[in-house]
Structure formats: structure tokens, C-alpha cells
């Protein structure tokens, strides 16, 4: 088979991660990088990667097999529409869109044009969480009853980011909503949220919260809870517990190191890995390699437009629940 030619749209932090994973893959070419504020990087030029500020330069290329969209969220929908004229294989970072109606447009596009559209819910590709999913599916703890997710960032992003993030539920919790669906195989039907601003008053001024507890019902009858904080001083705290009719399954944190120390003062061990890029390193590799496999025609499981829509609807319901202090149907 011929080499596969990929393009990246949006070359920020996450775009760079995807690029380095693509460059490390065999028989895969990164043909072009599009970014409106791109500084031409000679290193890329020297290995044959084109760089442009104009998406038209991508749309004018003939031999593109797949595109990875890592631009700011508000551009996703328009770019998917444009790029779908060029290729059926599109990988888009989360959130897919910021309103239900625009994702519904994309949903029709996917159906009508048979798009192979992957959404970047990378945590599905984390080895621990995919093992958890497999163990649940194998019935290792019987029927599942409750799911409990702890998801805390080590420190809040800059206020400028928060202002454009869509709020904590669309920015941060959206991963956890998707995790609930991924693990349970069921959509969330009802959400009750309690939240507050404990960390930085600037976040409150930006009309957002930094701490939240989410209490959910799933269509399957399962109960679930998520707790979020923008600032866990000890690191990036990412844990999941599932309780079922025959027992429990848990995923704990990945630690910075395996070193433990014991002295007259007691024992110490390392804190969790401090950053999502370190913690979920493998998941970013796997989501792109699965995307590439799907371009080659292999059938892979992936987060699709329905998953993107589900997570967005959950985030919007959560916003409404917070506002009205009442449970909200998704």
C-alpha cells in the first residue's frame, strides 16, 4: 500500500503532539500544517512538510488521505465542512462543536458523505481505561451499579483561556462525561450539579466555576458521579472506580516515579504525573494510530459524532443545572 498522507490544521500544543506522533510512524507522511499564526519552521521544510496560514493550500492538494483538526473549538465545524470536500477521514479534537445544532449539521454530513470522523476523546485510548472497559465488558464485576470519577487538574489555565473555554463543563468535564458513556456503554440521562469558586476569584469574574460535583443517572439505570477541581496541589488526579454486582474495578493515578522513601518521619511516595500530556501520552499515540488504521480500511472503535454530541449535551445540561440548582434531563 502507498504511504498515507496526512495534514494538521491548528498547530498549538495538541497539534504539535499529534505531529510528533505522526512523524514517529512508519509509512505516514505529514504533508502540510495549517495555522493562521504559524512561524515557518525550517526543520519541517527540510523534511518535506509544507506549512501555510491558509486552509485553501490544504484544500488545493490532491493526495490528502486524512486531516487532523486541532484548531480552537469555534472553528471545528466550519473546517470539518470544508475538509469533508477533500477527504472522508477527519480527526477532530474535542469539543466537536459548541452548539447542538452545529453538531447536528455535522451528523448529517457524516451520514450523507459516509465520513470517517473521529473525535479526540483521548482518554478512551489510555491503556488503563481501555483495560477497565474490557474488564467491565467481560463481566468481571457483574452488572455495573455505580461509576465514580475523580478528575482534577494540577493548576487552572490562564484566565484568558478560561474566558474562551466554554466553561468548566465543556472544557474539562466533557472528558469525564465521555468516560462515563465509554465505560458504561450507556448515555447519561439526567445531571445534577453543585459547583463553586474556591481557587481563584478571577474565575468567578469570568463567569465560571473551578470546583464541581456532578451526580448523574444513566439510561441503563447506572448511577455515576464526577468530581472536578481546577487545582489539585499534588498533581493531576485522574481516578475511576466502578462498583458492580460482583465487586469493584479501579484505576489509580500514574505516578511521577516509583520511588518510595521511608525514614523516621514515615514513608513518602511520588505524586501523580503532573500534566495531561505526560499522563495520557500513550493515549495520544493510540488515537492517531487507530485513526491511521481506519484510513487504511481497518475497522476500529472510536469516539464518533454521536459521542461528541452526547458529551456536549451533558455539558449544556450541567450548565443549566448549575444555574437553576435542579437536576436537568440531558
Amino acid at each position: 500500500m502507498n504511504n498515507i498522507n496526512l495534514a494538521i490544521v491548528g498547530f498549538g500544543r495538541i497539534g504539535k503532539i499529534h505531529a510528533s506522533n505522526i512523524l514517529a510512524s512508519e509509512n505516514i507522511n505529514l504533508k502540510i500544517i495549517i495555522d493562521p499564526i504559524l512561524d515557518i519552521n525550517e526543520k519541517f521544510t527540510s523534511i518535506g512538510i509544507s506549512q501555510s496560514k491558509e486552509i485553501n493550500d490544504l484544500l488545493n492538494l490532491d493526495n490528502i488521505d486524512g486531516v487532523i483538526i486541532c484548531s480552537p473549538s469555534q472553528y471545528h465545524i466550519e473546517q470539518i465542512k470544508q475538509i469533508s470536500q477533500k477527504t472522508k477521514n477527519i480527526f477532530c479534537e474535542k469539543p466537536l462543536g459548541l452548539s447542538v445544532s452545529e453538531i447536528m449539521d455535522i451528523k448529517s454530513l457524516v451520514t450523507d458523505n459516509k465520513l470517517n470522523l473521529h473525535v479526540g476523546f483521548n482518554r478512551r485510548y489510555d491503556p488503563d481505561f481501555s483495560s477497565l472497559k474490557t474488564a467491565i465488558s467481560n463481566g468481571e464485576i457483574g452488572d455495573i451499579h455505580t461509576i465514580k470519577i475523580t478528575s482534577r487538574d494540577p493548576s487552572p489555565p490562564p484566565i484568558s483561556y478560561i474566558k474562551n473555554s466554554g466553561g468548566i463543563f465543556l472544557d474539562m468535564t466533557i472528558h469525564d462525561f465521555d468516560m462515563v458513556k465509554y465505560l458504561s456503554g450507556s448515555e447519561i440521562s439526567k445531571i445534577y450539579v453543585k459547583g463553586g469558586c474556591f481557587i481563584d476569584p478571577e474565575i468567578e469574574k469570568a463567569n465560571d466555576i473551578d470546583t464541581a460535583i456532578i451526580n448523574m443517572n444513566l439510561k441503563s439505570g447506572v448511577l455515576a458521579t464526577i468530581n472536578n477541581s481546577r487545582k489539585a496541589i499534588y498533581g493531576y488526579d485522574q481516578r475511576v472506580e466502578v462498583l458492580g454486582s460482583k465487586g469493584t474495578l479501579k484505576v489509580g493515578n500514574r505516578l511521577l516515579s516509583g520511588l518510595q522513601k521511608g525514614t523516621k518521619n514515615g514513608f513518602t511516595s511520588a505524586n501523580p504525573k503532573n500534566f495531561f500530556i505526560d499522563r495520557y501520552n500513550k493515549s495520544y499515540q493510540k488515537e492517531i494510530s487507530d485513526f491511521i488504521e481506519s484510513i487504511k480500511g481497518k475497522i476500529v472503535e472510536y469516539a464518533n459524532v454521536d459521542d461528541g454530541l452526547h458529551a456536549l449535551k451533558c455539558g449544556l445540561a450541567a450548565n443549566k443545572s448549575l444555574l437553576n440548582n435542579t437536576p436537568v434531563m440531558v
Binding site: Y192, F198, T211, N215, L223, S229, K231, Y234, L243
Partner: protein
């Protein structure tokens, strides 16, 4: 100083009554268990305790002037009358939780005990657990800074018989009452609001009596601290009892105690024991410590650190929680 020995009577020789009786005879030399009252006393058990009278009539305790304090472990619906009788006969009371499901009855008990000048301690034993006391002290010392969230896991190892479940008062009054009290114990705050998301997964007959066997509960404390209680009647792997206090300067967590520290690793995996299987094993020390406290309070005429006021607060939360289940809305807790 010579320690004074106090004679006590015990009413209700069920699972917890037997545990208290054994603890007193084995670990609490300053308490002398004189009489045990039960409608059908387990004579074999009582004989093994050596020197304890088996009685079937509560008057055998109330009319015994040498008995200074009564330990009430009978079913909840009998507590109120028994406590009143104790007060009438000037006997100090240790009563298992919850002393009543009725707020008015609890309020009445509070007044009676004050008027009759007798002490009452309530069996919210977890306040005497070493780990939880440590959590409270460290929180008070400011170790986690300002508290932002508290998460409590409270799972039974195996679901009790349906007969017990029917008389238990329900998941919130029976199991979660400890957790409501724990939140107040750790923070010194009252609970403001409760939302209960519950379901029946394990015992379908619970639906007939409007009870649940699993719940995820969201709570807000007076100062705005956000909390969850995650409760289940059955884990199979043991009695899952964890607390996590998350604050601006760090997190304190209390994990489960394993049955033992034996590990076995082979090419397949590493195995370790279940965790302690019941409250009797997990909270063993706290059941002794709470009686040491009770003894000290009687001899020094101090008010016990945990009494009907604390149960009253917890009952109010459970009552609001029941309402939340019915209305499927968050409910403010009565002040």
C-alpha cells in the same frame, strides 16, 4: 488514684449488644456488666461472660440501684421509651444510633436528660475511630488549608437480611447517618442541602418498601463545602470505608484496612486479602474507645462529645434526603 468501678446493664443482645458485652468484659475493666436484658436471652453467651445476670424484664435493670448506667442496643423503635425510663431512674445512658427517627422524640430526650441530670451518649462510634480523629485534628491544624470537597465512601460488604432492612429505617437512616455525622465531625459545620440519587440494584424487594440499596448523594455544607457520599449495601470485597478531604493546600485520605498483609505474586498477578468485612472488625477500637469516653464522662460528670444533638442534626439530613428521593430535587435541611 483508685479507679471507681461502675455497674452497667445492657438491653438488647443482638449483634451489636453482644459485641459491646464482650468488649466490656474483655477490654473495659472499669465497667462491670451486671445484667443483660433480652426477651430471649442467649444463655450460653451470657454464661461465658462470667458473673452476668440474664434477665427478660427491663425492670431488672431499672430497679437495680447498684446499676448506674444502661447500654441500649435494642431495636430503634424501643429506644425512646427505654431512655425515658433510664432518666426516670437516674441512670446514665449509652444508646445505639439512631436513638429515634423522630425529631420531636429526640428533642424531648434532650430536655429530659438535662432535667434529670443524667448523661446520654450516642453510638456514633466513628467519631472515636483513630483515623477519623486524626483527620479531624489535621484538618483543624490547617493541613489541607481551606476545605473545598469531602468524599465519603460507605459500602457494606454484604446486604443484611430483608427482615432487618425492613426495620432499619432505610439506607439513609441506617447507613448514611454515620456519614452525615462524619461530615459535621470533620468540619464542625452543619449540612445545608442534600440531593440523593438512589436506586435498587441488589434486593428487589426494597422497592416494595420504598427503600434503596445504592445511593450517590451530593451535599453542601454551611460554608459552601461540596461533598459526596457514595453508599452501597453490598461490595463482596469487604466493608469499604474511605474518606477524602480535599483542600487548597492538599488532600487527606483514609483508606481501608485489609484483613491481613499477605501478598502473593505469580506470573498472572499479585493477590492480597479482602478488606475488613464488617463494622465490628473495621471499627473494633472505636467501640472500646467510645466506652472509655462514656466512663470518663460519668466519673467526671462531663457531657459526652457525641449525644442526641448530633443525632438530631443527622436525622434532619436523612429526613431531607428522603424528601429528595421522592421529589428528585435538592432539599434544604431544616435548621
Amino acid at each position: 488514684m483508685k479507679n471507681k468501678i461502675i455497674n452497667v446493664g445492657l438491653i438488647g443482645l443482638g449483634r451489636i449488644g453482644k459485641m459491646h458485652a464482650k468488649n466490656i468484659s474483655q477490654h473495659l475493666p472499669f465497667l462491670n456488666l451486671k445484667s443483660i436484658v433480652d426477651p430471649v436471652p442467649d444463655i450460653d453467651f451470657i454464661q461465658r461472660l462470667d458473673g452476668v445476670q440474664a434477665c427478660t424484664n427491663t425492670d431488672d435493670v431499672f430497679l437495680d440501684d447498684t446499676i448506674q448506667a444502661v447500654i441500649i442496643c435494642s431495636p430503634t423503635h424501643t429506644h425512646y421509651e427505654l431512655i425515658k425510663k433510664c432518666a426516670q431512674h437516674k441512670k446514665h445512658v449509652f444508646c445505639e444510633k439512631p436513638i429515634s427517627f423522630s425529631e420531636n422524640e429526640i428533642k424531648e430526650i434532650i430536655n429530659i436528660m438535662i432535667n434529670e441530670k443524667v448523661l446520654i451518649q450516642v453510638g456514633l462510634n466513628r467519631r472515636f475511630d483513630q483515623e477519623f480523629m486524626l483527620v479531624k485534628n489535621k484538618v483543624n491544624d490547617g493541613l489541607v488549608g481551606d476545605i473545598q470537597m469531602i468524599h465519603i465512601t460507605n459500602h457494606d460488604a454484604s446486604i443484611p437480611e430483608f427482615k432487618f432492612l425492613k426495620s432499619s429505617g432505610g439506607l439513609l437512616f441506617d447507613l448514611c447517618i454515620h456519614d452525615f455525622d462524619m461530615l459535621s465531625f470533620i468540619t464542625g459545620e452543619k449540612i445545608n442541602e442534600i440531593y440523593v440519587n438512589g436506586s435498587v440494584f441488589i434486593e428487589p424487594r426494597l422497592k416494595e418498601i420504598n427503600d434503596i440499596d445504592n445511593a450517590i448523594i451530593t451535599l453542601e455544607l454551611e460554608s459552601g463545602i461540596l461533598c459526596t457520599i457514595d453508599s452501597s449495601r453490598q461490595t463482596h470485597y469487604g466493608y469499604d470505608q474511605r474518606v477524602e478531604v480535599f483542600g487548597s493546600k492538599g488532600m487527606i485520605s483514609v483508606d481501608n484496612k485489609p484483613d491481613n498483609f499477605y501478598y502473593f505474586s505469580n506470573q498472572e498477578n499479585t493477590k492480597r486479602s479482602k478488606i475488613k468485612y464488617s463494622f465490628i472488625e473495621r471499627y473494633k477500637d472505636s467501640y472500646i474507645t467510645e466506652f472509655e469516653h462514656f466512663y470518663t464522662c460519668i466519673t467526671h460528670n462531663n457531657k459526652p462529645i457525641v449525644g442526641p444533638e448530633n443525632i438530631l442534626s443527622a436525622i434532619k439530613v436523612a429526613t431531607a434526603g428522603e424528601k429528595s428521593i421522592v421529589t428528585n430535587q435538592p432539599v434544604m435541611v431544616k435548621k
